[in-house]
């Protein structure tokens, strides 16, 4: 059976709890888990000081319950197993994650899946800024895996992305896919400003018209096959993919002209208004 963590004491300052990961907790009993260290502000504390720990020896699945908006680094470095959060989470969810799955029923803070290399993160609510984004100074963002956000996401989705898939059910903020080298970003809602700035390779898809940078140029209108496969996959993961999304066609814009110009932005062509 799974280990269950129920927030008992709400932290008033940030709580860094990378130990909340199947990889860190594997084989531990509820009592042992409660003794693990977390960083509460500038001091050490026990996981048990904040969480009621129940359930049996970890079978690779964790359930976290409560408003964890101030709890950072949940699932950091996890390589396998599953975390289900019944509530919202703070920053750096699944940082450096290489495998396994995290499902958040609520919202997630900034930096979901920073430097993620594998596995899957599903956020059913909204996510903050820099989803799958590179840390400041680094050109390397997400290197693999999948991040699915059913709600909206903030700025710099997929900043410096190298591989993998990011899908946003709602809208994104500015600079979606900025400086990405590869990978795919699908946005069902509207793109914020300046999508694809500095894009080298990779695809950014939106189901709405968007004003693009002067350094993107229109190529053609078509229905790319790879996209259909991605969209079918995303539909299975709970994203609201409609038949028109599957049918297309999409306008293909290539850019960024100040870079290699080998990236693409695909915009669903709105059906001609009936007259």
């Amino acid at each position: 059976m799974s280990l269950d963590f129920t927030l008992r004491t709400t932290p008033t300052v940030p709580l860094e709890a990378e130990v909340l990961s199947p990889t860190r907790l594997s084989g531990l009993s509820a009592r042992e888990a409660a003794k693990l260290s977390v960083v509460y502000g500038n001091q050490r504390a026990d996981l048990g000081d904040f969480f009621e720990v129940g359930g049996g020896t970890a079978d690779g699945e964790l359930h976290l319950t409560g408003d964890l908006a101030r709890v950072k680094r949940i699932g950091a470095g996890m390589a396998e197993g599953r975390i289900v959060v019944h509530g919202s989470v703070g920053m750096h969810l699944g940082a450096n994650m290489t495998g396994g799955e995290i499902v958040v029923e609520g919202n997630a803070g900034d930096w979901v899946g920073p430097e993620m290399a594998g596995g899957r993160i599903v956020v059913k609510g909204d996510a903050g800024h820099l989803v799958g984004g590179a840390p400041r100074g680094s050109a390397i963002g997400m290197r693999g895996g999948e991040i699915i956000v059913l709600g909206n996401a903030g700025n710099e989705v997929g900043n410096g992305m190298r591989r993998g898939l990011i899908a946003i059910g709602g809208e994104t903020g500015d600079f979606t896919g900025v400086n990405a080298l590869a990978g795919t970003i699908v946005v069902l809602g509207r793109l914020g400003w300046r999508a694809g700035a500095g894009l080298r390779r990779g695809s950014i898809v939106s189901m709405h018209p968007a004003e693009l940078l002067p350094t993107f140029s229109y190529d053609c209108t078509y229905a790319p096959l790879f996209l259909v496969l991605y969209l079918r996959h995303l539909r299975q993961l709970g994203l609201a993919i409609s038949d028109p999304h599957l049918q297309g066609p999409y306008q293909r814009w290539s850019g960024d002209g100040v870079e290699l110009n080998r990236g693409e932005i695909l915009l669903l062509k709105a059906p001609a208004p009936e007259s």
């Binding site: 900034d110 903050g128 800024h129 820099l130 984004g133 903030g154 700025n155 710099e156 903020g173």
Partner: protein, 119 residues
């Protein structure tokens, strides 16, 4: 009927000299509670130098005194306000992972404060 305009926050040399005297003084308070507006916009809104306007953003609102500027200096639809306690009321707290709140080119709703004397 409120209108949407673009508010630019900034600093001025008058503000700079005033704060050397006191940030709590009348001069500094006056500088930071005066919004510059294009004269044509003011005319259209029935505003005169010294009229009061309410500025509203998603973050909050503030009541300021207007001062007219010619079109060559300040285009229609643009407002200028020196940073200070009132500009703060209009600034949102989200920094988008940068540490920097946005204080220039804010979308603001502009609404004249009814003159008690009335026309």
């Amino acid at each position: 009927m409120p209108e949407m305009m673009t508010l630019i926050g900034g600093r001025t040399s008058k503000q700079g000299t005033a704060l050397c005297v006191s940030k709590l003084g009348a001069e500094y308070r006056e500088i930071t509670s005066t919004v510059e507006m294009n004269v044509e916009d003011m005319a259209r809104l029935g505003l005169k130098n010294g009229s009061r306007v309410t500025l509203r953003t998603a973050a909050g609102e503030a009541v300021l005194t207007c001062k007219g500027r010619e079109t060559k200096d300040l285009p229609p639809g643009i407002l200028f306000l020196a940073y200070g306690p009132l500009a703060s009321q209009l600034m949102a707290g989200d920094t988008a992972g940068s540490g920097m709140p946005i204080s220039k080119n804010l979308d603001v709703e502009v609404e004249p404060v009814p003159d008690p004397a009335g026309p």
